[in-house]
Amino acid sequence: MSLLEIKNLRARVDDREILKGVNLTLNAGEVHSIMGPNGSGKSTLAQVLARRESYEITGGEVLFNGRDLLAMKPEEAACEGLFLAFQYPVEIPGISNAYFLRSALNAIRKYRGLDEMDAMDFLPKLREKLKLLDMDDKLLNRSVNEAFSGGEKKRNEILQMAVLEPKLAILDETDSGLDIDALRIVANGVNAMRSPERAILVVTHYQRLLNYIVPDRVHVLVDGRIVRSGGPELALELENKGYGEMDGAARGASPA
């Protein structure tokens, strides 16, 4: 059984169709990448999978671990092991980062019938992950993402992923806004998470990240459809040629 099976998924917002029949299958242990021009629907796909309710599903089906993902609430999807690293992480004044992380972990543990972790047990675990991502301890006592730099926000997403240990991690442009050192650190953090039980879906515009996190498959999303799939070499080709031809392919494709 595949970990994630997206079949002909369609979604819209405000009467505008954005996903126009997406098909994608991800097996445990695999890393896939989605590339595509601005506005093609990559984040929409990521958010729909994370169950954001502002997107209306107009067709298709998604199975996550064999279960109907589209019937889940965002918190259920998370508890079932789905994680989205946001393209634009949200600032939440008044909630400390450490408290947020522990609340999230405990919500997931509770769902799985595990005991809640108190602050004493949690902090050492957190510190260890912090080190892995070369993050400052001080970020734990600050409000979630508030006044974090762009790079700190992206690292904070990966920190959350490391703490929550999802089965499927979707990274939406986690590389944008990172300098080369930060990119390497984040990529190391992601690679440390690679395992035969886990799958990772990397949304990016650039080949650079894929030098560090080498994907098994690369998909090209144009205008709400996956117009091409291939091996890692496809990312290179795109970097050189752009999406021009793919655009044509999308327009030429008949509506499913």
Binding site: R52, E75, A78, F83, G94, F100, A104, A107
Partner: protein, 449 residues
């Protein structure tokens, strides 16, 4: 419901009986004070929405109800029934039941030397001269019918005196319990808090109810903060949602006195909380911090009058409101900077979360500046719970109700963070958690009344 005239007649009758039977009636100054209060009240009557100070709050439900004093012969609640209202870590708790001191329910064992806490009625009997020096000296009855009415019916309340240089470590709590009567019951607690020069104290006024009877609690507290004193005052309104609560905190600040007033309104049907500091000595600092959380048809009105009469003083008003259902909140912050109050720094901020289309907030800053070298700022915001923040929390596994609650508490924490860590803040944090949970729940953010 009675007409306004009937209600006034009712008060006249009640007052003439009260005058003849109340404690301390042999003291001429006290009788004069009471009579002056009643005459003022009789002359103006209750306010209406035509009064500038009552533009957003309709006091008719109060003025047209024939409230009566709870006199002799009513039974006191058991200690057990008051157990839920204990505040952990306070040095003492005085309990007033329907306005009257209940010594058997109160505890004052743990008081430090130089701190006296008692009820006003006994203090007047023991030491009238000391009380006469302060009682009624600060409250301005001109624009305040409820203050006048309270003054007419002065009988009992909390009395706190902290001697020069003394630091009262733990907070002193005053608990006002409204019991259920078979008639609309009124009480007029009158409190006097005197912090002498260089002393420090924290006072909590806590308003609660037992049973569901209709009641009006009309309180006045005169707080004298001596030179260089540090005083924190908490007003916590958590009565049931049929209660009327009108309160005035009149603060008289001396030189370099540092006062914090924290108002926490989470209960009551119609609540009006007046905070009126006068910064009368140079270098005084006053923080007027408030949090109001309303649901259903609650009406929570925060009225501030901040008077700067001396130079180099600072005042900061910060009020956060969370309103759900058909709740209506009011923030009316008036700042008056008198001619001599140069170098005043006055700030005012009111932030609100409206959780339904039917919740409402009226916010009104009012600046009157008669000095030329001052800094006054004000600002107000209205917002909702942000969908993106809610989704972010939920996407990490936190269920919707918990996520909403977290965001509400986070919003409230702006106010909580301004309270000094200690028993009073811990108590307020617990209350906020409870009320945030009610409002965050699907049934809570509606209209159940």
């Amino acid at each position: 419901m009675a007409t306004a005239t009937q209600a006034l007649q009712n008060y006249e009758q009640t007052f003439s009986q009260f005058e003849k039977s109340t404690a301390g009636r042999e003291l001429a100054w006290l009788q004069n004070l009471r009579r002056g209060g009643f005459e003022r009240f009789a002359a103006t009557g209750f306010p209406t929405m035509r009064d500038e100070d009552w533009r957003f709050t309709n006091p008719n439900a109060i003025s047209q109800t024939a409230f009566r004093l709870v006199r002799n012969g009513h039974s006191l609640p058991s200690r057990d029934r008051l157990a839920p209202f204990q505040i952990e870590g306070v040095s003492c708790q005085l309990v007033f039941v329907d306005g009257r001191f209940a010594p058997g329910l109160s505890s004052t064992e743990k008081l430090a030397r130089g701190v006296s806490v008692g009820n006003l009625a006994s203090e007047i009997a023991k030491n009238p001269g000391a009380i006469e020096k302060h009682l009624g000296r600060y409250l301005n009855l001109e624009r305040d019918a409820f203050g006048a009415l309270n003054t007419a019916f002065i009988e009992d309340g909390g009395y706190i005196h902290v001697a020069k240089g003394v630091i009262a470590e733990e907070p002193i709590s005053l608990l006002y319990v409204a019991t259920s009567q078979d008639f609309p019951a009124v009480s007029h607690p009158r409190n006097l808090v005197i912090a002498e020069e260089n002393s420090q104290v924290t006072v909590i006024e806590d308003y609660v109810s037992l049973g569901g009877g209709q009641a009006l609690c009309n309180t006045v507290t005169e707080l004298v903060a001596g030179d260089h004193s540090v005083v924190s005052h908490y007003m916590i309104e958590r009565e049931h949602t049929k209660s009327f609560n009108v309160s005035t905190l009149r603060i008289q600040q001396g030189r370099a006195a540092d006062v914090a007033s924290h108002s926490v309104l989470v209960g009551g049907a119609l609540v009006r909380n007046n905070v009126h500091p006068v910064l009368a000595g140079e270098g005084g600092e006053c923080l007027i911090n408030g949090l109001f959380i309303g649901n259903n048809r609650q009406h929570l009105d925060n009225y501030m009058l901040v008077e700067h009469t001396s130079p180099h003083c600072g005042s900061r008003q910060f009020y956060n409101g969370i309103l759900a259902g058909h709740a209506h909140g009011v923030f009316h912050g008036r700042i008056v900077v008198h001619k001599d109050a140069q170098k005043t720094d006055a700030k005012q901020t009111n932030r609100n979360l409206l959780l339904s289309d039917t919740a409402q907030i009226d916010t009104k800053p009012q600046l009157e500046i008669y000095a030329d070298d001052v800094k006054c700022t004000h600002g107000a915001t209205i917002g909702q719970i942000e969908e993106s923040a809610l989704f972010y929390l939920r996407s990490r596994g936190i269920d919707e109700v918990s996520a909403r609650r977290l965001l509400l508490v986070a919003f409230a924490s702006e106010c909580l963070d301004r309270m000094k860590p200690g028993p009073a803040r811990t108590h307020v944090e617990k209350l906020v958690q409870e009320h945030a949970l009610v409002i965050a729940s699907p049934a809570g953010n509606g209209d159940r009344s």
